[in-house]
Symmetry: C2
Subunit: 295 residues, 2 copies
Amino acid sequence: MAEPLFRRLVLIGIGLIGSSVARIAMQDRTLAAEVVANARTQATLDRVMELGIADRIELDPAKAVLGADCVMLCAPVGAYAALAEAIAPHLAPGCIVTDVGSTKQSVIRDVGPLLPAGVHFVPGHPMAGTEYSGPDSGFLTLFQGRWCMLTPPPGTDEAAVAKIHELWTRCGSMIEVVEAAHHDRVVAIVSHLPHLLAFTICGTADDLEDESRQQVLKFAAAGFRDFTRIAASDPVMWRDIFLNNREALLEMLARFTEDAQAMARAVRWGDGDYISDKILRGRAIRRSLIELKQA
Amino acid sequence: MAEPLFRRLVLIGIGLIGSSVARIAMQDRTLAAEVVANARTQATLDRVMELGIADRIELDPAKAVLGADCVMLCAPVGAYAALAEAIAPHLAPGCIVTDVGSTKQSVIRDVGPLLPAGVHFVPGHPMAGTEYSGPDSGFLTLFQGRWCMLTPPPGTDEAAVAKIHELWTRCGSMIEVVEAAHHDRVVAIVSHLPHLLAFTICGTADDLEDESRQQVLKFAAAGFRDFTRIAASDPVMWRDIFLNNREALLEMLARFTEDAQAMARAVRWGDGDYISDKILRGRAIRRSLIELKQA
C-alpha cells in the first residue's frame, strides 16, 4: 500500500465539515493512517465513536495535536485564536496546520502569529455545506465537484500547500489558490450576504403583528421557504463569520441596499422597464451558473 | 357519470399555473366537460395542442369566452384590465370569472368594475409555483397540499365562491377565504419581498468589477445559488406583481431594510449576541414551518 498522505490527521471540531472529512479519511486510508477527533464536549466525542468516524478521540486540544503531521481547524472561526493558543506549544516541527473557515484574513490574523517556526500554515475554505450541523450531519460526498479555496500567505512552504491541495483533491474538490482578501470579498457576496438577508427576513416576518405572523407560517410560499432553509444554519458559526468578515460584508450589504432602494423607487414610481431589466439580469446569472454546473 | 363542475372552462393564459389547471381538468373530466385555452401567441396555442392539454384553442380572448360558465385569468396581472375589457361584453350571464394572480386588491380594482351584472367574480390565488414558465412547465401535482387563497369582495354570490372552492379542492389545494388587503400584506412578505431581494442580489453581484464577477459565478455557494433559483422567475409576471402590490411591498421592504441596517450595525460594532439572537429566530421560524409541513 502507498504511503498515506498524513500519518496523523487531527480534526479540531467535528461538525458538518469536520465529520465529512473524518468520514472520507476513515474510508480512504491513503489519506491519513490515523484520524483523531477533538470537540468542545465529551458528548460530541462519544457520538463520534458511536458513528465510528475517527480512530481516536481527545477532549483536550493540546493533547489531541501531539504527534500530528496535519491539524485541521474545523471549529467556528471565532474560536480559532483560543484554539491556536492552546495547541501552538504542542505542535511538532513540520506539522501542517490548515482550516476550513469561511473567512480567511481573520484566520491569518488570529492563527498565523501564534504558530511556532517550523510549523506550516495553509488556510483553506471548502465551499460546501448544508443547513445542518454536528457530527451526524457529515457525509462522504459533501465536497464532490465543489470548489475549495486555499489562501496561503506569501512565503508559505510550497510542499505544505501541495499536500493540502492533494487532501482536498482526494475529497473530490476542485482547488483554487487565491489571495485571502480576494477570497473574503467573493464569499461576502456569494455566501455571507445571502445568509444575512435570510436571517433578517425571518426576523422581519417574526416581528409582524400576531395574526399576520400566523398567516406567514401558513402561507410560506416558494421564496420565503427557501430563505428559511438558508436561515436554519448554525448560529455560532454564522455569528463568527459575520464578525470576522466585517469589512467585506458591510461593503456588499451597502451596495445591495443601494440597489434595493433603487428597486423600491422603481416600484413606487411605476418604472416597469427598470424592474424587468433587473429580473432579466438575475435570469442571465442563473443561466451562467447552470452552464458552469454550480446550480 | 356525475355532472361536471363546469361545462366550459376557459383559461386565459396557459403558463405554469394555467397549464397545470388544464392538465388536471383534462385528466379529471368531472371538473370541466370542455377545456378551452387562450394565449397571447398562436405558437403557445399550437404547443398546447401538441401537448394535448386542452380540448380547444382560441387566440381571440373575446371569442374564447363565448359560452363559458367559468373563465380563469392566468395571465400576468398587468394584463388583466385589457383582458377584462376585451372579454366583458362576451360573457354569458351566470358565468364565473376567477383568476390566479398574486395580487388581489389590484385585480378587484382592475377587473371588478368591468364585468357585467349577472357575472360572478371570485378572485383567487393558488400559492404554488416553480421558477419555470410556459405551457410545458405545468404538472398535475403542482397544487397538491398547497394553499389557495380566495378573496371574494363583500356581496359575492356564495354559490359561485363554493364552485371555485370546489375547483381548487379537486386540484389538491387547501382553501382559505381572506380579505384582499390582508392577502396582499401576507404575500408581500412571504413571496414578493423574497423575490425582490433575490432579483436585487443578482444585480449587485453582476455589477461587481469583472474579475470578482467571474469568481462569483465560479464559487456560487449555497446561499447565492438558492437566490438565483428564485431570481430565474418570469420577468413580466414579477414586474406586474411588484407594480400591483406596491404599497404592501414597499412597506415590507422598509421594515426589512430597517432590520438589515440594525444587523449591519451589530456587525460593525461586534454585537455578537444581537446577531446570534436573529439567527436563532430564523431557525425557530424554520422549525414552525416544518411542523406546519410548509417546508
